[in-house]
Symmetry: C2
Subunit: 320 residues, 2 copies
Amino acid sequence: MNQKKRIFIGLDLGGSFIKYALGDHHGDLLYTGKKPSRADQSQDVIFSVIYEIVDHLREKQKELDGEIAAIGFGSPGSVDFDRGRLIGATPNINEWTDADIRGRLQSRYNLPTWVDNDANVMAYAEARVGAGRGMKNIIALTLGTGIGGGILIDGKIYRGSTYAGAEIGHMSINFAGPPCNCGNYGCIEQYASAPAMLRFYEANLKAAGKSIPKDLSTFLLFERSDQGEPEAQKAIQETCRYLGYALANLANIFNPDAIIIGGGVADADDSLMEMIAQEMKKRALPPAVRNLQVKRAELGNRAGMVGAILLAADCLDAER
Amino acid sequence: MNQKKRIFIGLDLGGSFIKYALGDHHGDLLYTGKKPSRADQSQDVIFSVIYEIVDHLREKQKELDGEIAAIGFGSPGSVDFDRGRLIGATPNINEWTDADIRGRLQSRYNLPTWVDNDANVMAYAEARVGAGRGMKNIIALTLGTGIGGGILIDGKIYRGSTYAGAEIGHMSINFAGPPCNCGNYGCIEQYASAPAMLRFYEANLKAAGKSIPKDLSTFLLFERSDQGEPEAQKAIQETCRYLGYALANLANIFNPDAIIIGGGVADADDSLMEMIAQEMKKRALPPAVRNLQVKRAELGNRAGMVGAILLAADCLDAER
């Protein structure tokens, strides 16, 4: 039989760049690239960038032994997975409200297209071929400017009844804690995101009468911690302790196989995961954490592309 | 065809009583009763009570037009659903450690038997034929001496990877809150269980210089609140506010169709559910609660029997 290898397009839309890839149904990437997403411009402009990318990938595909079978797309914001489009607005891309991603791509390319929230897509990648491969129930957290969450139940992405679930960054661990942008108080985003970590660091430096560096970043914080600076080390410990509180809740609720942590913190070494796991175990019910692994995400910034490709490949399989 | 109607045995083991019933696959109860569970005695004694009940129900069944097809059993403690037995100990029944409920019942009666944690069984009943009927994703909370939790994902009980999930009573809403029996701090059990509610009430009475009644109970508390006593009303408001915080977390994580509340608080009127829902909406992400119903459990203390019967009926169907 002269059947060509199926190739998938994976697109990962962010506030600064669109990352794109061609890959196979194992999630192996055959070709990758990125392009500014022009997220400050109109929806039509953003779609024109996406079209350029897909046109380019369709050209590239000709060099490969295969044919494009489907498109997978990860987008910020709430995504109606069944319709493949945004629900309402998303903070980092002003004009992206209600964007009909599947509608536009399918009508232009006549290729089956699946769209999901970017945190879900990343969690899916980690679950399928990353830190959670072979596991069934997984919670994924991405610690960045905010905290993204993904929930895998029995290997499937759990989206909630109206696609608004898995907002784990907005689980409050202290109802009287600092106000969050979301309107709630004490969300873990206020305790374990990159900005929160830097706030702890600044407070520690101030308390020690030290000056605050102008080029403050989590990179610098980790560097200084490695160099043995107590204020930096303490900021990391504080973040891990709060993360431990959050993970204890997630363990008691989900009793998952693994909690996978990605984003800035995941760039640090595994000792951090150990520290977070220890804090979790101090608080969680013992049976809920006996077999639970706290793992660093493995796919780094490829997770979005890999997840989009695997989502498209698996959804296409399921339809057949 | 001369096929007899299938009848199911439902057993609901508690620290004081075993409730038992015969019912059909709709969860309709045909015959019910209860017997002291003798939970302070040996495992063999407790099983002898269970055998007496099953023997009795098999006699009763003869009066009905049907034959017993399976047994469903709700037990306190962590239950290995796939093996139908306890995992370790349970606080209210000393000698119930590792009780092999399915093994004992199947070998004695040669009837297929399914066993699950009592909170799961109650949640299942509410999901199938109670406040959550027709819905897919449901969180159930039972507020009593402790707080039991059940999670229904796509209509199926979610148990966690090692049957230790859905411990929603031990989600902390304040990492610096009062210590909980479980070893954690600020668990919702410390804010919204019956004892917590009574603690608020006592504190309010003390603060007002009033005496504390000796026969303090949630029944009395609700009665006095209905009579307009401000200290009682305030205790209920406090409990509802804390529950609102907890429900906001659950909404953000699960975006379920409904959160169903049973136990002592559910005996009060629907205005309480409204109060809890309002507190939840102040804190949750709007898309997560737009279609979310906060509902009072409907099945009361029949939920355990109904759930056990439906679990047995549905599991038997799924095996066929």
